[in-house]
């Protein structure tokens, strides 16, 4: 909770100790409990979306199985890895702050920030591809003809024009130099071509999946942005040398927030990208 009054009240002798606390320990415990309660509200906020997801997945399983193939497992997985790394750097940053290693702290915060940028960058690529193929929510769901074939080429901006490539091969371009065996990508490709040949198999109300996909990842994205602001602010305070003397509460709390953002993605990834 960045608003927690950790800053020293002007007249105080003990630096960073607000007037209404008896000891730094008490102040630290209070701040920490406050942050955890804030995380509780975040969990319930997303809880609502998970509820919507559960209800619609159980009522329209075919929609979810069909539509999730339009998401790019590779990019999703990549983002998961990025977030996990950012969690590591963040946790390490807390350690650095506790050990008063200001330089390391600054570096690790910067690293975390860069990871966050990477995550958003990849999300942008994914969103852009969805937009291009009209894979949107509600009435805006207007998939271009045979989206199926192009879907795995979601990451077109990263790959050479996918048109000539057999369906599905596009997916691995992003990671592998040569087009070829990316099981996930291929699986998707075959399934889709199979479908696009007889449209009878395409379930109705596919837009529901994309509505939920955009709401969930969108809200999560907003939280990533908020996290970046928070980390940036911590970074500045570090450069100002505010965390040099063993005072690290803000870093600790910022870390908790960032890990929660990671936690939520850990569930979003399999639920949205890896439906079987």
């Amino acid at each position: 909770m960045t608003r927690a009054p950790e800053r020293p009240a002007a007249h105080d002798h003990v630096p960073h100790l607000a007037h209404h606390f008896r000891s730094l320990q008490q102040q630290y415990d209070a701040a920490k409990l406050g942050m955890w309660l804030f995380l509780v509200t975040e969990i319930l906020l997303f809880g609502g979306l998970f509820c919507a997801y559960a209800v619609y997945r159980s009522s329209h399983p075919e929609v979810f199985v069909y539509a999730h193939r339009f998401l790019d497992k590779t990019l999703g997985g990549l983002n998961t890895v990025i977030l996990i790394c950012s969690s590591l750097t963040m946790a390490w940053a807390v350690r650095a702050a506790q050990l008063r290693n200001r330089r390391q702290l600054a570096l690790l915060l910067a690293a975390t920030f860069i990871c966050a940028c990477g995550f958003l960058g990849i999300k942008t690529v994914e969103y852009h591809a969805k937009w291009k193929h009209g894979l949107l929510w509600g009435q805006r769901y207007q998939p271009v003809e045979h989206t199926a074939d192009q879907a795995p080429a979601d990451n077109a901006p990263l790959a050479p024009a996918p048109t000539a490539v057999p369906p599905g091969a596009g997916a691995d371009r992003s990671l592998l130099p040569a087009p070829g065996k990316a099981p996930a990508g291929l699986a998707a490709g075959e399934a889709l071509t199979a479908r696009s040949h007889d449209p009878g198999n395409v379930p109705r109300n596919v837009h529901l999946f994309f509505g939920i996909y955009f709401v969930m990842t969108g809200l999560h994205g907003l939280h990533v942005i908020a996290g970046m602001v928070l980390i940036g602010w911590l970074f500045v305070r570090t450069l100002r040398g505010e965390f040099g003397d063993g005072y690290f509460t803000p870093v600790d709390l910022g870390g908790l927030y960032w890990h929660l953002v990671d936690l939520i993605w850990i569930f979003l990834f399999p639920l949205l990208y890896l439906i079987h």
Binding site: M1, P5, A18, V40
Partner: protein, 559 residues
């Protein structure tokens, strides 16, 4: 007990203007010092002023609604305006007034004092929550000026997604108000856990604190779900993400699950602090130790827990499955029990006491009467067979108002009169206090009791027009509403008058044993001049009445 106080008379900070003693009111002059204050007492007062303003606004809407309903068909406004009126009346009264009413205004002021703490855990967050309240209120005002939502405060889809009024502005306002509510609750939980002096153990906490604790738990756990519900509603209206809109394949009944998962616990956010106030007042005014302290404390927490298991009783006719209907009906009755326990304990507290029937106590008595009716009529609505008939009729409207106005508002008035001397260091006119308390009681029953009857006779709620056969009930109801309005005006007048002309208040006018009465009226900026000594909050044996002070003081202390 009050050893830390400088010798009484003139009392520490007993006076508002100068008079020597420095207190939280005169410590720092100027509007700016208020708008930037981190003092929980000042923030409490700011909240008090704001919520009273919104109560006035919501009250005006209520009077307009009752006037419109005086006759069937058009009386003073169009159907569209009427629909916006009752929507705003509901939204303003619930989200701007009742929810923050007791916790954020009275609670903010007394909680740290009762605990013997210097402030709440996060003073800045506390101030922020007030500014969030302000932002939310402004959003609602904006929507009010530019075509307010006509959806009812429940925002049911698909009506709320299709109507062409400013639903987004209204829901955004409520969304922002959610933050202020969450921040208050979060702050209180941490304060209660971390800021108590060593000697203030859990079971020495005043019951008001227990009530605020239970309330805060609900605020933190339930409000985010309302937030996400409103977010989904907003993206539905602005971008057409059809999660709740059947036209887009969405499920409107799911919206009702979302909405009531917050909004049922929310009614306990509204009533629990009220129960706390009652426990706080009934004991000193009976000069008796509260009966069954632990039972009352635990029942608050029990209500908080159970409140999350009963939301479906708002959906018995909505197409919810019979299975869920059964589960929710059964659980609903479970909530009745802790509430009953509290009532019996309050009655037992009065037994063999010496009852001082001053204004706060009169409100407590009318609370017992009105909340009794409100609670018992809840049985009709919890029971499946009868709810099918009564759901969405005036019976529900009456029940809701008996609990929320007869319960919460009355308790709020009780608390306001009880803590008024502590807040402003002045006594109000006891005579007018009692008269208006009686007027409120009579006016309230006249307004809402007929609504039970017309409800069970079939009059649906949210009706602009109605059949002739319901007319007489509506006329009674409107008459009562005017009577209540008069009573509220009287209250406003004598309270305002007391601020300037009122007799200076002693530190402990009622002879209460909770800590806030150990410090001056009004309290100093630091709350306590010495280290407060928490004891049994309902043991009055150490207190004696001192005519010189016109208040109570510690028996051991020299007058």
């Amino acid at each position: 007990m009050t050893a830390h106080q400088p010798a009484p008379a003139p009392h520490p900070g007993a006076s508002l203007h100068g008079g020597g003693a420095v207190n939280y009111l005169n410590a720092a002059p100027g509007l700016r010092s208020w708008l930037t204050t981190l003092d929980h007492k000042r923030i409490g007062i700011m909240y008090l002023i704001s919520i009273l303003a919104s109560f006035l606004l919501g009250g005006v809407f209520a009077m307009l609604i009752r006037t419109e309903l005086l006759t069937p068909g058009r009386t003073i406004m169009s159907a569209q305006q009427y629909n916006q009126m009752f929507t705003l009346h509901g939204a303003i009264m619930i989200f701007l007034f009742i929810v923050p009413g007791i916790p954020a205004a009275l609670g903010n002021f007394v909680l740290p004092l009762m605990l013997g703490a210097k402030d709440v855990a996060f003073p800045r967050l506390n101030l922020a929550s007030w500014y969030f309240w302000l932002a939310g209120a402004l959003c609602l005002l904006f929507s009010l000026l530019f075509g307010a939502a006509d959806t009812g405060w429940t925002f049911y889809t698909p009506y709320s997604t299709t109507t062409n009024t400013h639903v987004v502005a209204t829901t955004l306002g409520v969304f922002i108000l959610g933050f202020s509510s969450v921040f208050t609750g979060l702050n209180f939980i941490v304060t209660i856990h971390k800021l108590r002096p060593k000697s203030m153990t859990w079971f020495r906490m005043p019951l008001m604190v227990w009530a605020l604790y239970a309330t805060a738990i609900i605020q933190v756990l339930a409000t985010p779900v309302l937030a996400v519900t409103l977010l989904l509603l907003i993206v539905e209206r602005t971008m057409g993400v059809g999660i709740f809109d059947p036209a887009l394949g969405g499920d409107p009944v799911l919206f009702q699950h979302f909405f009531w998962f917050y909004s049922h616990p929310a009614v306990y956010i509204m009533i629990l602090p009220a129960m706390g106030v009652i426990s706080e007042i009934i004991s000193p005014f009976s000069r008796k130790h509260i009966f069954g302290y632990k039972a009352i404390a635990y029942s608050s927490v029990a209500i908080a827990g159970l409140s999350f298991l009963v939301w479906g009783h708002h959906m018995f006719t909505s197409g919810q499955s019979p299975l869920a209907n059964m589960i929710f009906s059964a659980l609903t009755f479970a909530v009745a029990i802790p509430s009953a326990v509290k009532v019996f304990n309050w009655l037992a507290t009065m037994y063999k006491g010496s009852l001082r029937l001053d204004t706060p106590m009169l409100y407590v008595l009318s609370f017992l009467f009105l909340f009794g009716i409100g609670g018992l009529t809840g049985l009709f609505l919890g029971s499946l067979a009868t709810d099918i008939h009564l759901h969405d009729t005036y019976f529900v409207v009456a029940h809701f108002h008996y609990v929320m106005v007869g319960g919460t508002l009355i308790a709020f008035l009780a608390g306001l009169h009880y803590w008024w001397p502590k807040m402003f260091g002045r006594m109000y006119s006891e005579k007018w206090g009692r008269i208006s308390a009686l007027l409120v009681f009579v006016g309230f029953n006249l307004t809402f009791f007929p609504q039970f009857v017309m409800g069970s006779q079939g009059m649906p709620r949210r009706y602009y027009n109605y059949l002739e056969r319901y007319r007489v009930y509506h006329e009674m109801s409107t008459a009562g509403a005017y009577l209540m309005a008069i009573a509220f005006m009287i209250i406003a007048v004598y309270l305002a008058h007391s601020l300037v002309k009122g007799r200076l208040a002693p530190a402990n006018p009622w002879g209460s044993a909770t800590l806030e009465w150990e410090t001056g009226s009004p309290p100093p900026v630091e709350n306590f001049l010495g280290e407060p000594q928490p004891g049994d909050p309902y043991d009055f044996s150490a207190l004696v009445y001192d005519p010189a002070l016109q208040g109570y003081r510690d028996a051991k202390e020299q007058a």
